[in-house]
Symmetry: C2
Subunit: 321 residues, 2 copies
């Protein structure tokens, strides 16, 4: 298959988004103007850094790659609409495997009626995939990290640490409880798009998605908002059989593991009942895990356990260290 036949093979037969004027097939894609605000982000995944063929079949590489991007849109309260995929292909990957990567993305894109509207295909030594996503959010309703306030409740969706537990299981064969649950959480994470969107009726929500671990994400909200965040160690939600792993791994994965693509955020306490109702409607588990304070020094995250409180380091994955 050459480059041009490959592009033909991934081109959609029809497009679903009403604002699309021109998809794949010209120098660029064209979208008609819309009354909503536009949200856009890009993420890149590299073989050997973000995944290996051992832990990820190509289909999942694609699924999870797009999921990470949709999670960014969810963290802004936006609905996904379009994606563009630029891929560097080494000789060690067959065109069938590459087609499976696109098929994994297409599976997730289908859930949200997203259209693949462009990209680039080049040769190289190392597989890397850059996904650009474009979504829409109601005018003025994008959700920022910078709006947390003194007295807010801190919440998180789902359970934490599952993705890293899944990676551990996939790369360390053995006997585990709920093996397929954890593997699936690693390979096919569910970005919390619908829940995030449903929050649009609330006046103020700070929001971040958990790609680098909750310690790092909470720190971003604390810094951007100029507040302190205290997390209650015993309230961090984990899966039922999570205690099958060592205490050390449990701690590391739930605070620093990342890639769960859950959402964390803060809201005024008076909106907590409403947020719980909306989470129920989106069938998303939601847990109150801490609170926001404003002190002399701000921008920190603390971990509270049995009346002891200490600072939580923010070491998420840092690519350049």
């Amino acid at each position: 298959m050459d480059e041009f036949s490959f592009i033909d093979s991934i081109k959609q037969n029809y497009y679903r988004q009403s604002t699309l004027i021109k998809g794949i097939g010209d120098d660029a894609a064209v979208l008609s103007s819309s009354p909503e605000d536009i949200v856009t982000a890009v993420d890149t995944f590299v073989e050997g850094v973000h995944f290996t063929k051992t832990s990820m079949e190509p289909f999942f590489v694609g699924y999870r790659g797009l999921a990470a991007n949709l999670s960014d849109l969810a963290a802004m309260g936006a609905s996904p609409a379009f994606y563009l995929v630029s891929i560097v292909i080494p000789k060690s990957w067959s065109m069938e495997e590459i087609a499976q990567i696109f098929s994994g993305m297409k599976e997730l894109a289908g859930i949200y009626s997203m259209d693949l509207i462009g990209g680039d295909t080049v040769s190289g030594k190392e597989l890397s995939i850059s996904v650009t996503v474009i979504g829409y959010v109601k005018k003025g309703k994008a959700r920022y990290r910078s709006v947390a306030k003194n007295g807010d409740i801190v919440f998180v969706t789902g359970t934490l640490g599952d993705s890293q537990a899944g990676f551990h299981i996939l790369t360390n064969p053995g006997v585990y409880l709920n093996e397929s649950y954890y593997a699936r959480r690693h390979q096919m994470p569910s970005p919390r798009v619908d829940f995030a969107k449903s929050l649009d009726r609330l006046p103020r929500v700070s929001l971040n998605d958990i790609s680098d671990g909750i310690a790092s994400e909470a720190s971003e909200i604390a810094e951007a908002s100029g507040v302190n965040i205290t997390l209650n160690a015993l309230k961090i939600p984990v899966a039922d059989s999570y205690d099958q792993f060592s205490e050390d791994l449990q701690h590391h994965w739930k605070f620093y593991g990342g890639e769960d693509f859950e959402l964390m955020g803060t809201i005024p306490g008076s909106d907590w009942a409403e947020v719980q109702k909306l989470a129920d409607q989106s069938q998303v588990r939601i847990t109150e895990i801490g609170y926001v304070t404003m002190d002399h020094e701000n921008g920190n995250v603390f971990l509270e356990k049995n009346n002891e409180k200490k600072q939580l380091q923010k070491r998420g994955y840092n690519h350049l260290k």
Copy 2:
């Protein structure tokens, strides 16, 4: 420099585009709605495939990388507004070199008041840079490959083959005429944004940018429009000292060399005088190089020289062959 300090270092102190609500610093960028249509594209550049440190200082890698994307927007008749940069960084590149890549992009972006609004920074074995651009075009005025018609004039901006001549000079040290002219054409190409935008008053223009060589680009217009295109070999514009290279190289570079980032297109003959005037105003050289016909079989490109006419093969650079 760690990842977070690096992101801080490339973050703009202020943004220039009026539709920007949120740039770098949250999970995604946010743009307010605009009455114009939106145009978007992504291109990826890989060390060893698209450039080497021998032929390209890091500053030029960035400049040319963004230029290629702006050329795609120009080919749609759109004005550039935003860019996002996702970069895979190997250990063999210093952070200073990476900063120079961004500085090259910033130089070109400044000409068009573009804002850098997002991206991703990851480690890997091979330097690769994915640039996503977003631009605006007057409602309904995006320029497509598919609108060429029987009887149209075929035109091209600038001169062809210069970029490959520049690459040849940079990688084969020797004595050449106009050395710095050719090197500059390779390292700092000028996307024809202003000229393309000025065409918005014309009712019908088919347009393509020359990234893969005019043979391939003409073929794309011929196929998309269901017409045949005939190019006049003696009319293809080249630089003054272009005949210093062998006949073979001259032929190869001007038809298949690519990366000149000039524009080719077709218009009704009745608009030719107007297009010449607009090119003058944008200080862009423009040349009539052929004509469009509609025959029993279409989608082909022919080369005409001294009353002889033969089919021109479309072999541009194909990454997967």
